[in-house]
Symmetry: C2
Subunit: 397 residues, 2 copies
């Protein structure tokens, strides 16, 4: 993940594990306290283990980085905390990889952001992911067109978020919206045809601008970033107060109900934290859930390995064995050595448990000829090798 | 640091950021609560942000890893927390790199541990470090010989720890120890002559065994690990309840009074946490202080760099520019691209601020010939290059 971020010109940022509780309530409202590990320190400061990393990164930007050349591209890999019942792929301490880009809102900047999120998940080895792209300004325009009150919107959002379109229909009927308008609205929430959306919002000039920008983003994604398998999904409405404009999610369908791996979009926090207004966007990838999806896809995780395990056959051989081990380590060869003075049989078993590829057995007879026994653990065969030739033997294998 | 640990056959372990408070008071006594970020969670559990990583690693070993083949070699790189006034190189959230080895107490195991700590600090680029090695069983034997009460020892230890030998002299006089014995004892604390120590403890068979083991460790360090610049320092007494036998410290003299970078030794925690008795040893390196020492030694830290920065000269060039950027990224080339539609002058300035080595300028005239302008930012010269040749041009530079 880090190397993909870097390949797009992002630099790593690390922020503290805890922040003032106020930072997170300012961003997400007081209700977040229920989900947070909050505590008072010995100086009676109200602190919180960070539940996410966007607020800390933007706080840091406002305090220390406003004068940096724009756009500023920052990525992070950090642990976060949530007071919640642990479930599969959802832990009280969990890891997020993510990024923020500060100072640009061009279609190419947003297309790059979405493409990078997609590329990160492809590069870690996931075979089956689904990218969905929406826009909150356009959704807001449809609300206005329907004449929905703020209160009505509040009731509607969770239903849209969970794609409970039957309930959306009942609620809008209850709110006095005509059946025709409601049907058309629900169609917009589910369509991938941008022209249908265009028709619905055509009287709202600002929403039409937003849609035209969205088309540019999608066009760059397809034709320049070569990311073709995405869906338009206007029903992405999470965090309506926080996100502005572009929103996107990436799912791993193998995960079933809890399938979202990544969420992001354009948002506004800088002025809330006292900084000069500037566009911001970003995304976060749930690391633990990504690992879970890879496991279900039977991804071959690399196992710990030992290049060479060295067995001195007697106490007298230990000094020379260490010397040889040290020379191998200097060459970047991962080398372990019997530290329990066990017999050869037990040591070979231990070497096997550590996935050693080769074993070097050091005994007095071979040592007289400046030689050792080199054993290939996979093939099971062994040969006597001059000490001076060990490194080249190992490197040519 | 991680690659040095791995070269010695260590595997990485990660443990949670917080543990039960009891874990740390069991190890270090109730007084540690004053220095800890402790809090109650919403379920009224007493928790603590970890102040160090040995107790968490050994807890994990006892709970989950007792059946693993021995020796078990575990390293970590983790953040820790201490409620304390922040000072230079001493922060409330700080990082430690360290390791534990479980299941062996042979001289070669201990020599390897000390050599690895030394090698880690040398490998990160420190020029000037000082390795000191002591032994708490031997120090305990000298206390017994002096006839010191537990109470007397308690008063003595902080004085020894701070090398306040005049105060040691006064205290021992007050405690009724003869001047001759006191002088000899202070000499032992400061000597690097192992024979003097041997003479002082010769009637204590168990301490003599320990000394003979220490001699084997020092001999392996010198002759097999090629670590020669260490000092015997019997005045290392920190954590007398916790450490057993071998103890060692590595200092960076450039840091002045707060110079200790690394501390470690053999210790006993497994049975305290309910596990079956087995030898354990380890060390921790203070990461922040190591960085500080490197800064004082004027170490050349690698700066963030961008291999290539791409400038489309007009909006029409953006799509093609992204395509070229994507091809470079696939080749592992760190590539950034103008996302603000600035002029060439401003974009070159930005590229410079991101340490870009090359800039590619994409304009309509060159593009007609499937070419771009490739600029070397150091030399300041530029040439027109076929798009198909960019990668080979960049890789051969």
């Amino acid at each position: 993940m880090a190397s993909t971020f870097k390949s797009f010109g992002y630099g790593e940022i690390q922020t503290p594990t805890f922040e003032t509780l106020e930072l997170f309530t300012a961003k997400s409202g007081d209700s977040i306290i229920d989900e947070i590990y909050a505590f008072s320190d010995k100086g009676n400061r109200e602190l919180a283990l960070r539940p996410e990393l966007t607020a800390p990164v933007i706080r840091f930007y406002v305090e220390k980085m406003q004068m940096e050349p724009k756009p500023l591209k920052l990525f992070y890999f950090g642990n976060c905390f949530r007071y919640d019942r642990p479930q599969k792929g959802r832990y009280r301490e969990f890891w997020q990889a993510g990024c923020e880009i500060v100072g640009t809102n061009t279609p190419e900047a947003y297309a790059e952001l979405v493409a990078m999120a997609y590329t990160i998940l492809k590069n870690v080895g996931l075979k089956n992911i689904q990218l969905n792209i929406g826009n909150l300004n356009i959704i807001n325009s449809t609300f206005t067109k329907l004449g929905l009150s703020k209160d009505g919107q509040k009731k509607l959002l969770p239903l849209i978020d969970k794609s409970q379109f039957d309930d959306v229909f009942s609620l809008l009927s209850d709110l006095g919206i005509t059946n025709d308008s409601t049907k058309e609205f629900i169609d917009i929430l589910q369509t991938s045809d941008i022209n249908k959306i265009k028709k619905f919002i055509q009287e709202d000039a600002s929403a039409m601008d937003e849609l035209s920008n969205l088309e540019k983003i999608l066009d760059l994604l397809k034709s320049s970033f070569n990311v073709k398998d995405f869906q338009i999904k206007m029903s992405i409405v999470r965090g309506l107060d926080y996100y502005k404009g572009l929103v996107f999610e990436i799912d791993a369908p193998v995960l079933g109900a809890e399938k979202q791996l990544c969420g992001g979009g354009a948002y506004e926090l800088v002025t809330l934290f006292g900084g000069r207004e500037t566009p911001t966007a970003g995304f976060a990838v749930g690391f633990d859930r990504t690992i879970l999806a890879l496991e279900i896809e039977k991804f071959a995780f690399p196992s710990l390995k030992t290049d060479v395990y060295i067995i001195p056959v007697s106490e007298e051989m230990i000094g020379k064995s260490i010397e040889i081990a040290q020379n191998l380590r200097k060459e970047g060869i991962l080398t372990d050595l019997d530290l329990l003075r066990r017999g050869i049989g037990k040591s070979l078993k231990y070497a096997n448990s550590k996935n050693a590829e080769k074993v070097i057995i050091i005994g007095p007879k071979e040592l007289e000829n400046d030689s050792v026994t080199l054993r290939d653990m996979k093939a099971g065969d062994q040969e006597v090798v001059k000490i001076a030739d060990i490194v080249s033997k190992l490197k040519n294998n």
